[in-house]
């Protein structure tokens, strides 16, 4: 079939029809591997070739090709070259689509679009030139593109991830250095990959990479895909417009040199600080007032690489305050500046948001981070889960002003327990971000319910939560209008109590604790069988956001958050029924946590209690079975039923 395709293409080229370059046509011969239906595309070639001129410019040439396997893979039928408006440009971008019938479609300038990377990027610095084949790329097509860009870059470090979640036939990174330069690399998520060296050209490549199927509650692609972290150096004594790092303090000092000049207050900023902290009497009140304000600044989300350090330099605090828009480093810088005006020292902190296991200690580089938060120096009186000690600076409160749902004193779960870089001109280094105790992420639920002889139920559900549970609730509440939020709650209640009617919903959010009160009725709850037996589950409502534990085995770590909850359910039983069967109490102590249930019954009232606690952590695949057993026991207990019999 492929030979036929090649002949068709050759014939078409003779007739002046669009044609693909030889390197694309050669890929048509690639073996067709069968994959699971969830795999949308097979990447046949992913190649980046970076040429460093030693004078501050880097030239990138990209070749990429993928076979589209089904509609789910159409996202691969697109070409993107990223650039920053102030320091780079895309010189060329062309693409080709070869359909299963051999028709070739060429894409060039006319089909290319230029887009802002983030729609809300008001500074419009991160952009992309793109060609999108979209719906034209039917299953069986091959999409390929070639692009060139240049950027001004002072860095002597690069990272190359060999794949995304799709399988890759060949993935290659080529680094062309000026004569005399050398390169070193570290390999992560794979046995060491040594580069092939030819003169001052270094090539790292991998072949036949299988698809990565995320198993849920684990690291993301960044934490699983093989990658190399590359550092390159000019010859000793040579002048080069470049920065290199061999220690974390060096990275910190360099970032500090970028950040500190931007942390300057003007009169407007000083006035704003004064206004916001006027009523604050304590250090905590000042921190909270300023932190809340910066959390309210509109967030611009941009993810792209950096060039001449521009990507790491925040906008000035005054500019961000004026425009009321900023990305994470802008917000961190603004807060830091405002705190300083209020007499409180604070420092930027670089973290990797999304995967606490991503950052590796053995490669000092700003490239390992994608997010900025703040470290605030606080007194010994200041107590909070996100406070930790620093040997040189003292007690530090870590705070993320980008996350508007996590109050001061806590950090979002995906940043806890990770390595981060505290940025300071002389005392900066890699630090371990504190991980909160389970009690800081606590859900307490109380249910008072009445079962009536006619089978109906009335109940009041009260939930109080802190930490990540509270943040999740805030996200849902603030992300929806009144009617939408009501629907969310009604759906949640209806899953446990079919046919229920929610009579009242009240929320309150105070000093970090979120409370939800729901009053409900259900005309017929539980099954009365033959007017004689009544089976019902006292755990009326499920735990929102519980772990999905479908698979029996894992190949990837399971990231368990520190967590605790307790529930007390008091049910007034119907007069005409007596308890016939009660589940057994459970007491479970595992390496991963503890779980208890208890059942009591007296004077027509049933009392069910359960409590759960886990310290969290990264659970290795070989320990998953035990964790699953523990969590499934917890899950199954929620399904426990009580049987009443009519007297």
């Amino acid at each position: 079939m492929r030979n036929v395709l090649l002949l068709v293409i050759a014939a078409a080229s003779l007739m002046g029809a669009p044609k693909a370059p030889a390197w694309v046509n050669a890929l048509l011969n690639s073996p067709a591997t069968k994959f699971d239906g969830k795999v949308g595309a097979h990447v046949l070639l992913q190649e980046h070739r970076v040429t460093i001129d030693g004078l501050g410019k880097a030239f990138l040439r990209v070749r990429s090709a993928a076979r589209i396997l089904n509609n789910g893979g159409r996202g691969r039928a697109s070409a993107r070259m990223l650039y920053r408006k102030d320091s780079g440009k895309v010189k060329d971008l062309n693409a080709w689509l070869i359909t299963p019938s051999g028709t070739v479609k060429e894409y060039g300038k006319k089909e290319a679009i230029d887009i802002a990377l983030a729609e809300n990027d008001v500074y419009s610095e991160g952009r992309a030139r793109a060609i999108i084949a979209g719906a034209e790329a039917i299953a069986g097509s091959l999409f390929a593109y070639e692009g060139e860009s240049e950027e001004s870059s002072i860095f002597t470090q690069r990272e190359w991830r060999f794949q995304d979640d799709e399988p890759a036939l060949l993935s290659r990174f080529v680094l062309e250095l000026p004569p005399g330069w050398r390169a070193e690399s570290k390999t992560y998520n794979h046995p060491t990959i040594e580069p092939k060296v030819s003169g001052s050209t270094f090539t790292w490549e991998l072949e036949n990479l299988p698809p990565i199927v995320l198993e849920g509650a684990g690291p993301g692609i960044e934490g699983l895909a093989p990658r190399v972290a590359i550092s390159y150096y000019p010859p000793a004594g040579a002048q080069a417009d470049a920065v290199s790092f061999s220690t974390w303090p060096e990275v910190s000092a360099w970032l500090s040199a970028l950040n500190d000049p931007q942390a300057v207050a003007d009169a407007t900023l000083r006035a704003k600080v004064k206004d916001l902290t006027e009523a604050a009497r304590t250090e905590r009140e000042k921190v909270e007032a300023l932190g809340r304000f910066v959390q309210g600044i509109k967030y611009v989300s941009i993810q792209m690489g950096i060039s001449r350090g521009g990507g790491y330099r925040p906008h000035t605090a005054s500019e961000v305050l004026t425009k009321l828009y900023g990305d994470c480093k802008d917000k961190a810088n603004l807060l830091r500046t405002m705190l300083r005006e209020a007499g409180i020292e604070a420092y930027p902190v670089a973290v990797f948001a999304g995967d606490p296991t991503y950052v590796r200690k053995d490669w000092p580089s700003p490239h390992q981070f994608n997010h900025a938060i703040v470290a605030i120096r606080v007194s010994d009186d200041y107590q909070a889960p996100a406070v930790a000690g620093h040997p040189d600076i003292g007690r530090i409160l870590y705070f993320d002003p980008t996350d508007e749902y996590t109050p001061i004193g806590l950090l979002p779960a995906h940043e806890q327990g990770s390595f981060a870089l505290l940025v300071h001109p002389t005392k900066g280094d890699l630090v371990a971000v504190p991980r909160a105790q389970p009690e800081a992420n606590h859900l307490e639920r109380t249910i008072k319910a009445s079962l009536n002889d006619d089978g109906s139920l009335t109940a009041v559900v009260t939930e109080k939560c802190t930490g990540e549970s509270a943040s999740a609730n805030r996200r849902i509440l603030r992300g929806a209008n009144e009617a939408e939020y009501r629907k969310v709650i009604e759906r949640w209640i209806a899953r446990g109590v079919p046919g229920s009617q929610v009579e009242k919903i009240e929320t309150s959010d105070d000093t970090g604790e979120f409370q939800l009160d729901v009053e409900l009725t259900a005309p017929s709850y539980g099954q009365i069988m033959n007017a004689r037996l009544w089976m019902f589950k006292p755990a009326l409502v499920e735990r929102r956001g519980w772990y999905g534990l479908r698979e029996e085995k894992r190949t990837q770590p399971f990231l368990l958050d520190p967590d605790s909850y307790s529930e007390s359910v008091e049910v007034t039983l119907p007069n005409q029924f007596r308890v016939d069967e009660l589940p057994e109490s459970v007491e479970l102590n595992s390496a991963h946590g503890t779980f208890r249930t208890s059942w009591e019954h007296s004077n027509g009232t049933l009392l069910f209690r359960r409590s759960f606690r886990t310290n969290g952590g990264e659970i290795a695949p070989e320990d998953y079975a035990e964790l699953r057993k523990f969590l499934r026991t917890v899950e199954t207990a929620a399904d426990s039923a009580v049987v009443l019999q009519k007297q």
Partner: protein, 667 residues
Amino acid sequence: MCTLRHAIIATFLLVFAATGFAVEWEPIESGMLQISEPKIDKNADAEILLWRTRIEDRDDRGQLVLFRSHYVRVKVFTERGRESQSTVDLHQVGKGQIRDLKARTIKRDGTIIPLEKDQVFEREVLRASGLRIRKHSFSLPSVEVGDIIEYQWTQYHDNELADYLELEVERDLPTWKLIYQVKPIDWGKYGLRYIMKNRAFQCDAKPWTRFGAGLYQTVYENIPAFKEEVWAPSDAQLRAWLLIYYEEPENPTPAKFWKDYGKKLYGEYKRDTKVDGKVKTLAQQLIAGKQDDSERLGAIATYCKTQIKNIYHPLFGISTADLTKFKAATKPSQTIERGLGTGGDINQLFVALAEASGFDARIARMVGRDRYFFDPSFTSAYFMQRDSVAVNVGGTWKFFDLANPFIEDGMLAWQEECVQALIGDPDEPKFVQTPISPASRTRKKRSGRFELLEDGTLKGTFEVVLTGHEGAGRKYALARKTEAEWEEEIKDLIKARFDLAEVSEVKVLNVKDVAKPFTYRCAISIPGYAQRTGRRIFIAPSFFERNSQPLFRTSERRFPIAFNHGWSEVDSVRILLPAGYDLDNADAPNPIAMGKVGGQMTKISVEMDGGRKFLVVERTLTFGDGGALLFPVEAYPSLKQVFELISKNDDHVITLKSLEASSGGVQ
């Protein structure tokens, strides 16, 4: 209005200078600043105090320009309101422009904080060949709960007119006062007779009063927010809105309008359905040997559905590149030659072939139920966007929809069932109600064979067969996808109800077969399907409805309830029971009768086979027969109760008792 637009562009010569619409800020009553509770909806996060839009059509140096100028004033009542309202994004597409943008925050103490120029971001979000999208964004300064925010801007749209322009009345926030000001073009200056007309939908039409030279204004007050509800008619049927459009000044009666329109329709498609030699030859071939009208029409329909590819239908997988090059046919024989066409081409071909076979066949035009419920008093064809074919068979009009090959013979798309179809005629066009298919034609036939294990696991195999609208809809959704994707979708469907289930051996059949029903089969194992206690097993044997949620869950409702079509379900489940257990006074739920609308019945019995005991469940449900698809909002409590009863029946539990268990007492 294409004709009008072309006429205007061709004749326009006058030149006007473009001027802006920036206005001064409206004064604010001091009481407004102090208000702390919403007026219209006590739960509102914010309310619009004033939204004023001025619309003007102009000739700007020989080019038509539509100006739209907005003035918005919002009061913020909650943090959520502050977050959602304090940032504003305005999009500008193509050559349109946004100008005169101003904004400010007014604090409760009357302090005004204007938005500075450098606080407005204008940037290009996308640039492509022939397309440019720019976005203007700003964050109102220092907004807090209790503040009022105001902003205004003007948009300029080149080569556009306020013709058939929809104007929102109900928005996502409650509105105290809504003002529309419209200045139409004075066509009289150009020797044209058009005037601007208007119509109000889902609200009492407020008068348009003269507000200046050529300017007219209408005002609406105390408008609630629009909130969507499930199982409701289309937005156009629910939300309050206005339509403004240019027409000739006469106000024909509905009877005259539709008669004239029907004649025009006839003339149009007579031209497009010309019977020539090729059509005649094909028609003769198709009907050769057919015994009666039904067979002859059936043969023609089958040809049109299967031999002519509808370029927009997913069954035929026409690429985007080919779509952009395609031009509709100029005559039916061209469609025959090409073997493909638009839905309109295929319907026209059917008309031509039917006429060549001696039938009286016409194009029938209608308003789809998914768009609007046809109201003949609205003398405009604005909503009439769907065509089918009507054939006179023995004095009765029979309808055919050839554009969608998945629609079964004798049915139309659900959007076209039970609507008034206008059949064109040179003398007496008429409205004929299209038939509605009975609920039995849209059927889910489901059968399962299972074994219940002592630990509560249920495992076995099952099959689902969908016909009618259900089948057509499922085929349509899957036709463009691969077989692997079909299987994944079925697995996802099952896992949505049984998240712990292991699903295997999935087979999906007849997705692209227009003649056979959509079918899928699989093997399944569901741990914890049945509830184990110390001495008993409780099982809900209506497998196919297990974990389904009742259709209606909210306690209150504002809008009527509308179902797309009627449907029926026929389920047969057979479960092998575990040894050592016996039924404990098993019973069946009471049937539910809904008169002509439908009903539900579940029969539960036990069968012995080779010493093994099987629980057998036969369940049927029918709903929406006889066109009972639209219910007034007053019927909601009863309808909700009916579906809750259905759900309760479906959740009916059978108790199995361990033969070794002791009786009584608490464990």
